[in-house]
Assembly symmetry: C2
Homo-oligomer: 335 residues x 2
DNA sequence: CGCCACCTCTGGAGCGCTCCAAAGCAGCAT
DNA sequence: ATGCTGCTTTGGAGCGCTCCAGAGGTGGCG
């Protein structure tokens, strides 16, 4: 029914190996033969069977990408960048969201292992060394995404402490004396680092030693969580302007929407700084000041690292760290 | 290096076939034997090689999903639903965005064919019959997503004409006499249908025959496009309230943000109705009235349809059409 | 005690492909 | 002519697994 390499060979009057050569090393096949083979392939609508190729020892061309939540624009954008570059290289990438649940993550990795994925770009809340170890055991390479990682694997991340510092300095320059952080300092190291950086910036500031950060812990990474934080803030003291750094842009957006609805003025009464610089940030009614992470570059770098680990003989693990950048828009302003 | 079924068999002291049975038909293997085999698998860290399974004729467990843009929350949500149910059934799904470019779509499909994907959930701007035909030729099933489709394939869609009608009736009930549509009526049938429905609702209305829809054609499906439309509207006549149905929620959000920034009051001066009901819609400062598409149900239905086509002997193609639902929030209000 | 049915388990064939060693075949210098 | 070199092409082995027909074993029953 469906044509295989044998059929092509027969029609073209050559051996299977020659067809294989046309596919994989067209250079070594004589012009005339190659033409005959490609014609035959065309005629039969032949499509190589990837399973057979992989099984026969050719390198597979397929990687997995496992993230918390693909619907978060931050991951979505990175995924898009990875996919773009992967497609260029003829790699297929499968994207899986885990919702940061260990069980789902295990399941996704198990499936990827069965498929003998060449590699995995992994965003994992708690890096479970066992999972990574079993991945590596069957030859699947791992690059950690959005977290620093150890010496045993490549990783791509952003200097989140510096990011927090940037926001903190900006707040101080604007003249804010009340500063808060809305995020999940406990669960993810990312938010924790951002908070640390924010505190460092305040500490570095000679003018106002002892300036403290008010912590607003939110339930999730999403807009809904940010919106809940708005109620807390609106209920509190608004006589002095407050500046809030959010764990990410979604939280910041939720916070902003919530405050607007409650009649709190942004940035006059509450200034907001997000984190990530997702696409949406610039289009809001009050465009969002935020700390930009270079998502495209991160995605590309992660793929390149993985590809190198997969293909190069002498690969050395590399922890690539990007530097964030403050993007000032209208959700913050000098007092 | 990496354990295979042979190694497991040897360690457990059984034949390869028995190990295979333990994996695929555990019921027929005696309790004691099964235990020995699973222990051996555990001990060796054995993971079945999917390529070999597929090659040997076992059914593969992997489908592709090809959409315009996975970062659009509408598709993102559907993808998530598909993935959830697929994971339950031990299927892997690979998500690819095409940016509605034919070349990218072809490339993605080609890759999927090589991998002998069991099936593909396809959102295609212009259904190119040839692509679908070659997919089917190698046995890859296709379910059309978000477009009606013909008799030759299953499809999942929403009655967009009805959706437009719902919005239109709502506008009339609120008392609007000036009505506009912001979208891409020419390119995608979805937006076209929504506009048609909107017009039908006005036509059905006995009170004001001849009421017309002003067409605001936008460049894309995204927030930026909606924001551009805001400038056009703000520059026009605002003395009479205007109601705008947008091609999707992103456009609606962009429009709303743009109007807010320009000082136009929503809904007093301009009422906005979106389409899709993405998660964000309810969280905006002015929560968005919108026409809800049942994204989770659509994703699930698409997968079920595909699974049936893949596994069931006597499958009949089915065009499943969902009914949209109007969700009234604060971006529209009685005049 | 023998036969049969039933339950388990087994060996071999084969899926479609790649890789490898080696064969075939010029063309050229000797 | 003969031998050699370099370019093409070839057949066979094998990747890890599933499927199938049938081999062994066990117990029931006449």
């Amino acid at each position: 029914m469906i044509a295989n390499i044998e059929d092509v060979a027969r029609l073209a009057g050559v051996a299977r190996s020659t067809v294989s050569n046309v596919i994989n090393r067209p250079g070594i096949v004589a012009e005339a033969t190659r033409k005959r083979v490609t014609d035959a392939m065309e005629m039969l609508g032949y499509v190589p069977n990837e399973s057979a190729r992989v099984l026969a020892g050719g390198l597979g061309r397929f990687i997995g990408m496992v993230v918390h939540d693909a619907s978060n624009p931050f991951f979505g954008r990175i995924a898009r960048a990875v996919e773009d570059i992967a497609l260029e290289r003829d790699y297929v990438v499968t994207l899986t969201s885990t919702g940061a649940e260990a069980a789902r993550e295990d399941n996704a990795l198990r499936l990827l292992m069965r498929q003998r994925a060449q590699g995995v770009l992994l965003t994992t809340a708690a890096l479970r060394a066992t999972a990574v170890a079993s991945l590596r055991k069957i030859g699947t390479r791992v690059v950690l995404l959005d977290s620093p990682g150890g010496d045993d694997e490549c990783s791509v991340s952003v200097d989140d402490v510096e990011g927090g510092r940037l926001a903190g300095r900006h707040f101080l320059e604007c003249g804010y004396t009340r500063i808060a952080f809305a995020g999940r300092p406990q669960r993810t190291t990312q938010h924790g680092d951002r908070l640390t950086g924010l505190r460092e910036a305040l500490a570095e500031d000679g003018r106002r030693p002892g300036l403290h950060v008010q912590k607003l812990t939110v339930a999730g990474d999403d807009v809904a969580s940010g919106r809940q934080a708005a109620a807390t803030i609106a209920a509190g003291d608004l006589s002095t302007p407050l500046a809030v750094l959010c764990g990410n842009d979604l939280i910041a957006m939720g916070l902003m929407f919530g405050l607007q609805e409650l009649g709190v003025r942004v940035p006059d009464q509450v200034a907001i700084c997000g984190y990530d610089d997702i696409d949406l940030a610039q289009y809001l009614a009050i465009p969002l000041t935020t700390v930009r992470q270079p998502m495209d570059a991160m995605g590309r770098a992660a793929f390149e690292l993985l590809l190198d680990e997969v293909t190069s003989k002498e690969h050395t693990h590399l922890g690539k760290q990007f530097v964030p950048e403050l993007v000032v828009r209208r959700s913050t302003a000098p007092i």
